[in-house]
């Protein structure tokens, strides 16, 4: 049964040092405020999972929260590279960052296997690429009926799955719409889950294209208006494209980044917006 907590409590209770944590969001509804709260609480040695690590993961990596990243595309969408991510991989700053790298199709299937209670998923993927040579998490598998050779990837089952949604009701049922990516799978694959929402409402009225997660499939819900900024929340606010642009020079420079971290996250009562 989902409990309604405030963000600080929720992160304190659900996210522990050394955990595998997935903050999912595919361009839309990225749980940025939750990521900042993890930084603020000084979590360490996390294995971060996400198909598309972008700015908030760059910030968490730069803040030293992560020892490993499981991902399929790491960039600042529409702008360029993630410099904290690069610095961690190329120079082990502030701490070394191990990576486990997949394609989107592979990651999506790893989450789906995790959500399905299966140890692995099968796909047509990675064929002829150099990716399987770099990880133990891509293996061939043979169809027991046709003998055809396909690819297997192991399930991903995070300790904590964190997503942002538009709304929840007071019982903790969660509703999101628009592009909902792999968020249902991320929650269902995780042992514990936290959903930050734009607002808690009396009743979840039907919305075309909405995905509803029943309260008994979620550990905690926290009301965090604008909790996906600088990404967007359909029906609530638009993407802050300037923020993505402005991140580039901050992320490029260790000193500017440290400063940003102090004033905008660690020193802030709440997330940098």
């Amino acid at each position: 049964m989902a409990r309604i907590l405030d963000l600080r409590e929720a992160v304190a209770e659900l996210v522990r040092d050394g955990d595998t944590v997935a903050l999912e969001g595919f361009t839309h509804l990225i749980p940025v405020a939750a990521g900042h709260e993890i930084i603020r609480q000084g979590r360490k040695d996390l294995t971060l999972v996400r198909m598309t690590p972008d700015i908030v993961y760059d910030q968490m990596i730069g803040a030293g929260c992560a020892r490993k990243l499981i991902f399929s595309w790491g960039g600042n969408p529409g702008v360029g590279s993630l410099h904290r991510f690069r610095d961690a991989i190329q120079n082990s700053w502030p701490v070394p960052l191990e990576i486990e790298e997949h394609s989107h199709a592979g990651m999506a299937n790893r989450y789906a296997a995790g959500a399905s209670g299966l140890p692995f998923a099968v796909l047509r993927g990675y064929t002829g690429t150099d990716l399987p040579g770099q990880t133990e998490t891509i293996k061939p598998i043979e169809c027991p009926f046709t003998g055809e050779r396909l690819t297997a990837v192991p399930a991903v089952n995070p300790d904590v799955g964190i997503i942002h949604a538009q709304r929840a009701d007071r019982a903790g049922n969660v509703q999101m719409w628009g592009i909902t990516g792999v968020q249902k799978e991320a929650v269902l694959a995780s042992a514990r889950s936290l959903v930050t929402v734009e607002e808690i409402v009396e009743e979840l009225t039907p919305v075309p294209g909405s995905v509803v997660l029943p309260q008994w499939a979620v550990s905690a819900v926290a009301e965090v208006p604008r909790g996906a900024h600088p990404s967007y929340a359909q029906g609530y606010y638009e993407r802050d494209n300037d923020y993505y642009q402005q991140w580039d020079p901050i992320g490029r420079d260790r000193e500017r980044f440290e400063q940003w971290l102090e004033t905008e996250v660690r020193g802030a009562e709440r997330s940098a917006r």
Partner: protein, 251 residues
């Protein structure tokens, strides 16, 4: 009456022209998205745009800012989950055309978006990674590559094969059991390369309006072959330029 235009504009127009009406097109953000939206506003009004964020048949009235822009969900025929877009729509070969770019492309159309230099664990430059590209390259009926030409990016052999083109040459894709044909065109600022029918080696088949064979040769890190019947791209039409610039102004 010809107009001034940039090489990026030519490249976008060239890419747009490659998209047939009613084709189902898997679109990435940036130039591919601009080209697809240009095509939809000119010769291919029924082009079906599919973005990996799960939007099928998006009809954006402005250029989307990301592959997950809300305008895509608002205008799509259907929005599906990310596992579904890859499993039910891309993997079975339902998509006609996939658009790819990268940091490096090689003689056989293999693409690198992973690491440059050094080795994988200790690279000189760490790139964003694979995203949807390996399976787009494998499963779309045809692949279009769009990249500016330079010796650093058009290399004899990519440092890392993120997405397979023709591997080490003709026959590799068949041997691996891939269903899609692979890259049928590489559209660049200097012209268009196509795989040689005999060897699958990328060969210059068209020059862009202002460029020369020498420029193209200098911009490629292998000894570039030139097609016997080397053509030249038509410059952007007034209509194409007008629509393209209006589109760009929506961002």
């Amino acid at each position: 009456m010809s107009q001034e235009f940039t090489s990026d504009e030519m490249m976008t127009v060239g890419a747009a022209r490659s998209l047939e009406n009613e084709a189902k097109c898997f679109v990435g953000i940036g130039l591919p998205s601009t080209a697809a939206n240009l095509a939809r506003r000119t010769h291919a009004p029924d082009l079906v745009l599919i973005y990996e964020s799960g939007t099928l048949g998006a009809k954006p009235d402005r250029l989307p800012l990301s592959i997950g822009d809300g305008v895509l969900a608002d205008t799509a025929d259907s929005v599906v989950s990310v596992p579904e877009i890859f499993n039910y729509w891309l993997q079975p070969g339902r998509i006609d055309i996939g658009f790819l770019g990268g940091a490096q492309v090689d003689r056989f159309g293999n693409i690198n978006t992973t690491v440059i230099g050094g080795d994988y664990r200790n690279p000189k430059v760490r790139l964003p990674g694979a995203g949807g590209a390996p399976e787009i390259a494998a499963s779309c009926r045809e692949v279009l590559i769009v990249m500016r030409m330079s010796p650093r990016s058009f290399v004899d052999r990519v440092d890392f094969v993120t997405s397979l083109g023709y591997g080490t040459g003709k026959g590799d894709r068949d041997e691996l059991g891939l269903r899609g044909r692979g890259p049928v065109k590489v559209i660049t600022d200097l012209g268009v390369l196509r795989p040689d029918p005999e060897t699958c080696e990328l060969t210059l088949t068209e020059l862009s309006p202002g460029s020369t064979v020498e420029q193209a040769r200098e911009a490629v890190g292998w000894e570039l072959k030139i097609a016997d019947d080397l053509g030249r791209q038509d410059p952007p039409s007034e209509k194409e330029l007008e629509v393209l610039r209006a589109l760009k102004a929506t961002v």
